[in-house]
Amino acid sequence: MFFYSPIEPKDAVLQTQDSKPSHTDDMFGLLVENVKDYAIFIIDTSGIVISWNKGAENIKGYRAAEIIGRHIAVFYTQKDVEARIPQHNLQAALENGRYEDEGWRVRKDGQLFWANIVFTALYGDDGQIKGYAKITRDITERKRAEDRLKYQANLLEITSDGIFSLNAQNEILSWNRAAETIYGYTAAEVLHKNVAGVLVPVMEEAERARLRAHINDKGFWAGEVVHCAKYGTQVPVFMSVAVQRNASNEIEEYVCVCRDISAKKAEEENARRTQEALEHLTRQQLTASLRELSGYKYALDKSSIVAITNQKGIIQYVNNNFCDISGYSREELVGNDHRIVNSGYHNKEFIKELWVTIANGNVWKGELMNKAKNGTYYWVDTTIVPFLNDKGKPYQYIAIRADITRRKAAEANLSLLNEQLEERINVRTRQLETANKELEAFSYSVSHDLRAPLRSVSGFARILEEDYGGILDEEGHRLLNKIMFNAGNMGRLIDDLLTFTRLGKKDAVRDDIDMNELVKTCIAEIEQSDKPGPVIINVAILPPCAGDVNMLKQVWLNLIGNAVKYSSKKEQPVVNINAEVKDDAIIYTIQDNGTGFDMQYYNKLFGVFQRLHSNGEFAGTGVGLALVKLIINKHRGEVWAESAPGNGATFYFSLPKK
């Protein structure tokens, strides 16, 4: 700028244009002509170049002959031309008499340069503008330097590193925005203050002195420090300090760059803690796992017979239990295979199956008989677990065994006992069969051989009466009748007894039975054979049941027959037959209004040959109710009764539902 200030070109040109050339003018013209660092030329009001100096030739690349007469637009960039900048500039100069600008201009060879231009209007005597003096300087270099400085200043402001400088007296000379952010002090607060009052590294005094000495000595230091910042906050920073010395090697400035590493520090601390915790945990887990593992091993060794073999079956390890049961020492066992305890009991297929199983990586379980050193045999419940390598192939086997010799002996004993028991059962069964056959033979005998003499007694008594009745007196007839009556009684007794024993041997079949039909049949038979008096039999609708129809017919015949018989002495005998369906059974009842019985003797009611009435009162063999009870029990039902003497009796029997 100072280049301009002494000379006002306006004046100079005026002189050039409007005064008579003097010697001084000539000199001045020569000067202008030959100035090389400035393009000085004159254009007319329309922008056409009129004069051209050496400087213009130098800066713009055109010689005078080439450019004079051409418009200044050729100096402008295409973009500026299109924006009509040359016209604008001329107009501005016209209006203000002067126009100054900076901008890119184009050389003849097309290169751009940054130009400072000044238009100065040249006026004629009449006050009219005649043209313009134009001075152009190539200030590209300066422009670049300015730009760089501006860029650097920007950098200083936008960087996140705190940057400040101190003079030799430690007074703060500069303090960028990042420093403000990091330490909390604004530039205004700290500039020209001694840094000792602003930022103190947290360290021992001796250490600080040593650091200062190092910086002064070496001219540079970089490292981590903690600064105590505004309000006492501690800020960890990575600080670089460079010393700047003047020509006489005196310290002029300290430049400090401080990077806030608190986030990084916190992260590091965090990571360290995490790592530490993890290591602690891992160590703990590992310890716990190892403890557990050794616990397992201890338990296994205590409880079981353990052997470890390699993949070929060679024993690598045996525990004490193995030595104890086999009778071999550890030295004798290790290095051998299990054939040392082979009993020869198991066949080849069995052993092969074992090896195929474990060689394929599967667990084998089974019972093995082994032979101890002293020749005795022992049984072991064995589990062999293959240990697999990365390829899934077994590299060793662990065999865990439990001594089951006693159990095996007990099993053998048990099976012997079973056999003996079975044999005994067979013997008993045969005995029972024999006894049954004998019983059958006995009842056959009873039915045949006892009846025949009875028939003779009865028959010949009858013949006696028929053939010699005329010569017998009354007493003779009475005695003869007694013989015949008792013979008949005994015949019935035998018949009933045979029915009873025969039914006892039979199983009840389970057919569907229409009880209404069955009862109707039974009543008809009773009326036919017993010829009862005028009895009223009321039969309700009876539910069907499942059972043996022949057997249940016996039940109805007996119970209805009894009801009719024991009520026969009443003026109007009445028998009621009913049924009731319960949850799981059907209960049939036969009620009469007859003579009844005393509940005191109830326990005799259903016994064989047990009677609660004499034959004189009511005829009977004492088998009927026993038969009823037998049959109902065969149907898994129950029979019971209620009565009081003279008040009739009610008999109940239940049958399970289907």
Partner: protein
């Protein structure tokens, strides 16, 4: 009781039962042509002309055989089997008269082709009635193929 003509063959080891049976038949006038043998072996000898009966002229076949089951030597079931398995005798009506109510005896008898199975009642009146009714039926009512 050896007659030229034979209507009833009574096979009965019990003399009392035989007497009672014969008396009952007599009452209805059907015991005139009756032969009583005392066991199964004699019955078969009589029918097939063997043993004691070997040298006698061929016997006339009875119109009915009353057969007890429980007898010494050869029992009634066996006699029945032999009668019913022989061409000569199988058409003769055989009535088993026994004290046995054993189911097995009844089944066996019917399997072998018995014509009637009667349990002898103990009581004489019933017994006499049963025997006379049997005689009436088989001798008078029933038609035989010969």
């Amino acid at each position: 009781m050896k007659n030229n003509t034979l209507e009833v063959l009574l096979v009965e080891d019990n003399a009392d039962d035989a007497e009672l049976t014969i008396r009952a038949l007599k009452k209805v006038n059907m015991a005139n042509k009756l032969v009583h043998v005392k066991d199964g072996a004699e019955a078969l000898d009589l029918l097939f002309g063997t043993g004691e009966y070997k040298n006698r002229p061929a016997p006339e076949l009875p119109k009915i055989i009353l057969l007890d089951i429980k007898m010494p030597k050869i029992d009634g079931i066996e006699v029945l089997r032999r009668i019913k398995s022989s061409e000569l005798t199988r058409n003769i009506p055989v009535v088993i008269m026994t004290s046995s109510k054993e189911q097995q005896d009844i089944i066996d008898s019917y399997d072998l082709g018995v014509n009637s199975y009667v349990v002898k009642p103990v009581e004489f009146n019933n017994f006499a009635k049963a025997v006379s009714e049997l005689g009436m039926y088989w001798l008078l009512i029933n038609e035989t193929p010969y």
